[in-house]
Amino acid sequence: MTSIAKPKILHKGLRRNGLGLTMRDYEGGMSTLCAGCGHDSVTAAIVQAFFELDIPPHRAAKVSGIGCSSKTPAYFLGASHGFNAVHGRMPSIATGASAANRELYIIGVSGDGDSLSIGLGQFAHAVRRNLNMLYIIENNGVYGLTKGQFSASADIGAKAKKGEENRQPPIDPVQMALALGGTFVARSFSGDKEQLVPLIKAGLLHKGFALIDVLSPCVTFNDHEASTKSYAYTRTHRSTAVEADFVPARAAIQTSYAEGEIVDVELHDGSRVRLRKVSKDYDPGNRGAALDYIRSRHRAGEIVTGLLYIDESEPHFHVMNGTTQTPLASLSYESLCPGSAALEALQRRFR
């Protein structure tokens, strides 16, 4: 979370958006994540999306929980307010924020640990509330910040340090959101800027809860080789190997593929994921079909990416609550206090 100020050298010819701002105006402090961490790529995509949408940075509010992923709000939108809540409880903060100021662009960043273990209840209820926010899960199957335990999104058969194998079925936030009535449900890959940036933009503009589950590989704790040679092995066996705390610098994985296509992405540990981007004619208007499609492709070993479901007609949080258009926090006190005469009158029933 250390945020080291980035040197703000303004390159000539930097592109400016409708507000006359450059991309730099949408950046934040220097990342303190591991070199090559997928989360940093998501950060870059967020920066670009806000830039391209011409959103004044101070109109956005960034919320997160605790974890490597949850640190990232410090690395984008330096001119926005940020809120780094306690672990797993960001959705409640976002709920209160939206209730108080419905005009904010609320962007939440969370991890699979933060959202699917300790925060599962809050995540589910934010979906149910159709809260006006963009919720990004930077999903890496592990608890990065606490050094690599399985998260609830780890696949069956995933191997961790010590060669321990995960045997519990994963919790898929996308399927959860679909089952819970989510109104904007998407999945992407951290290295796929072409897909991610438009999704983030769409999510920010969505009226209601927009979920983007982003596969975002942890370069450091996906060292799965169950061999005595691996980093993991020596670390947990606590022999004081000289390399026990060595984290090699690596490059973030980038990928790019067209709609309707499939791509195999090799992760840092040599394992692969197969991504399938929904095609142009995919219909994101059918919740049940979306669920089916995801499940059937998953059985075929593929992870479907793209905007999987969207429904702009469902009432969002403020519609359901009938809150006034003016943000509650901006209402004058006079419009809130019934005054002494009303107090006098209503006490008749207490006599």
Partner: protein, 603 residues
């Protein structure tokens, strides 16, 4: 029965819950109140919905002594299951009224208690056709009998019935008939009125009968709170129910139906307090009502709010702990859990209202202090205060009041400011300036529960961290100057003995003091209204050789807090404890004062 007990007695009504008795009992109490005689009602109900014993205790006392008295002068024994126990509870010379529809065992009598049978069920069955009405009207029928027996003005009762059912004319008829059935039966069969009876006075002018939770909700409305988040829990639930209904009345745009408030039923208490913090971060006034278990669940976020300096108003309507404890009984046992909520070095501002009027006023104060001090403020109510109807002064409102939003920089100030640093102590009072999201680019900062320095930046540096938490102590000292002062009541003849108490223990303490005064024993009294304690509390402790700390918990939690957070030597403090779950009465206090005085003489 012999003794005349005019305007000084206790009626206890033993019922089965779910049979519609609660509101009949309340109507009975209100009738006495309308006759100008001070009264209070305590509801002892089970933690279930239907079918278990429930009691309602009405104390009538023209001196305004409205704590529990420990006596029962008139028992209305409507529950066969508890009849024996109820009979035993009657004070010698008292009266017991029961439903004589069914034969009663001869053994179930007491020579020193007058037993009056009224065939309530039979009368109602004969008179009403509908089964539901038959059950319900039994309640009004015993109210009718009591009206005659206790010399309550029938017109007052009837007026209350009419007001209550203003929108249901049919119900008015039935209720008046039932009332009449009971009334006439009593008049015909008993020597009415009893020596124990009500006489009209003019002692309730300017007073209302209201429960603390409703008053608290009004406080939230009048303070301008717009966001309320909660997870239902007894005995705090009615705070939000009332808040909602007041908002529906006062805060809904008549044309658009748009609401100038947002009530969120959270998925649990961790979320409820999170929602409050998200809202106050954005400049709304927000609150959450809860009780013990909820307070335990809020610990992590409370520590977070302390450290990140976010306002929040938490209403803790205390019930009997530990754990689930007795959810429908009262205690003041969350004091330490609230004062030092959360791991790490934390301390929280507490307010202690002592009657519904103070629930109203101190709730408004809570919002002002939370904003001013940028920290959670916990209003420590309890079940007795929150759910029972208390007589108190009418609520009044100064239309000149404007919320104290504390040190907030707006768009213009930020525009002009050279720089803004969230956690800088600019004024030397330990309170920094804050900004709301969305207002101005220069105002942005990061709220984080991790280490941060005075500029609002993340830090793991020992010095920076220490500087920040030391400033929080400075702010705490400021808080001690800002919180409401205690209410001190001294007597010129008091000889160095003082009583300290908080909240709903007040009527019992006051009654004890008055009773002792009648015996020529005078003690001073300091009713604390806030933590941190402040100089006036210190002064009271300093100027009294011996201080009895009266409280409703086992572990003397208020005394503990006084021990830790004042200069008073702990040897000076003596606990007086009541913790069985029923509201405290004055007897233990009177005894304790006498005991301590005796010991003082002996020493």
């Amino acid at each position: 029965m012999s003794q005349d007990r005019v305007n000084d007695f206790v009626i206890k009504l033993a019922n089965v819950n779910g049979t519609g008795s609660a509101s009949a009992n309340s109507l009975l109490m209100r009738s006495i109140f309308r006759m100008g005689v001070p009264v209070s009602g305590k509801n002892f109900f089970p933690s279930n919905i239907q079918g278990l014993p429930t009691w309602y205790e009405i104390r009538v006392n023209e001196k305004g002594r409205l704590a529990r008295s420990g006596n029962v002068d008139v028992m209305v024994a409507m529950n066969a299951q508890t009849y024996l126990q109820d009979l035993h509870e009657v004070t010698p010379g008292g009266v017991l009224l029961y439903d004589s529809t069914w034969p009663r065992d001869k053994l179930l009598s007491r020579p020193d208690v007058t037993i009056l049978g009224v065939p309530l069920a039979r009368m109602c069955n004969e008179h009403f056709a509908n089964a539901r009405t038959r059950v319900l009207m039994k309640n009004m029928a015993y109210v009718g009998a009591l009206t005659a027996l206790l010399d309550i003005e029938r017109e007052v009762v009837e007026e209350l019935v009419r007001e209550t059912f203003a929108r249901k004319p049919a119900a008015i008829d039935a209720n008046l008939q039932a009332l009449d059935l009971g009334f006439r039966y009593a008049r015909e069969h008993f020597d009415c009125p009893l020596p124990t009876r009500v006489e009209r006075r003019n002692l309730t002018a300017g007073k209302i009968m209201i429960d603390g939770n409703t008053a608290t909700a009004l406080g939230c409305v009048y303070a301008g709170a717009t966001v309320g988040a909660w997870y239902p829990i007894t005995p705090s639930t009615s705070v939000m129910d009332a808040f909602k209904s007041f908002c529906e009345r006062f805060r809904v745009d008549p044309e658009t139906g748009e609401r100038r408030y947002c009530v969120i039923q959270a998925e649990d208490e961790l979320a409820a307090i999170g929602i409050v913090l998200g809202a106050t971060w954005n400049g709304a006034r927000a609150f959450t009502p809860t009780s013990g278990p909820g307070l335990s669940l809020m610990q992590e976020f409370l520590g977070f709010a302390y450290f990140t300096e976010l306002p929040a108003v938490v209403i803790d309507v205390q019930r009997v702990g530990p754990s689930t404890g007795m959810p429908t009984r009262t205690q003041q046992a969350d004091i330490l859990a609230a004062a030092y909520a959360s791991h790490g070095d934390t301390r929280h501002v507490l307010l202690f209202p002592a009657d519904p009027r103070e629930c109203f006023e101190l709730t408004v104060t809570a919002f002002d202090l939370a904003d001013r001090l940028q920290t959670p403020v916990i209003v420590m109510s309890d079940l007795d205060l929150g759910m029972n109807d208390w007589m108190c002064d009418e609520l009044t409102w100064d239309d000149g009041y404007r919320p104290d939003r504390g040190k907030v920089l707006g768009a213009e100030e930020l525009e002009q400011a050279k720089s803004f640093f969230r956690y800088l102590d600019v004024d030397g009072d330990g309170i920094p300036y804050r900004t709301y999201p969305g207002v101005h680019p220069k105002g942005s900062y990061f709220v984080r529960g991790s280490g941060h320095n005075k500029y609002g930046l993340y830090t793991e540096n020992a010095r920076d961290y220490q500087e920040l938490v030391d400033r929080l102590l400075e702010k705490w000292r400021t808080a001690a100057r800002l919180v409401p002062a205690p209410v001190v009541r001294t007597h010129p003849e008091a000889d160095g003995l003082g009583i300290v108490a908080v909240g709903s223990s007040d009527p019992a303490v006051v009654e004890a003091i008055e009773r002792l005064a009648e015996e020529g024993i005078h003690v001073d009294y300091c009713r604390i209204r806030a933590f941190p304690f402040g100089e006036e509390v210190e002064r009271f402790l300093e100027t009294h050789e011996r201080v009895l700390v009266v409280e409703q918990n086992r572990d003397a939690q208020l005394k503990s807090l006084l021990t830790l957070e004042t200069r008073c030597p702990k040897e000076r403090l003596e606990p007086v404890l009541s913790y069985g779950g029923l509201p405290i009465d004055c007897n233990g206090i009177v005894d304790a004062v006498k005991r301590v005085r005796l010991a003082g003489v002996a020493a």
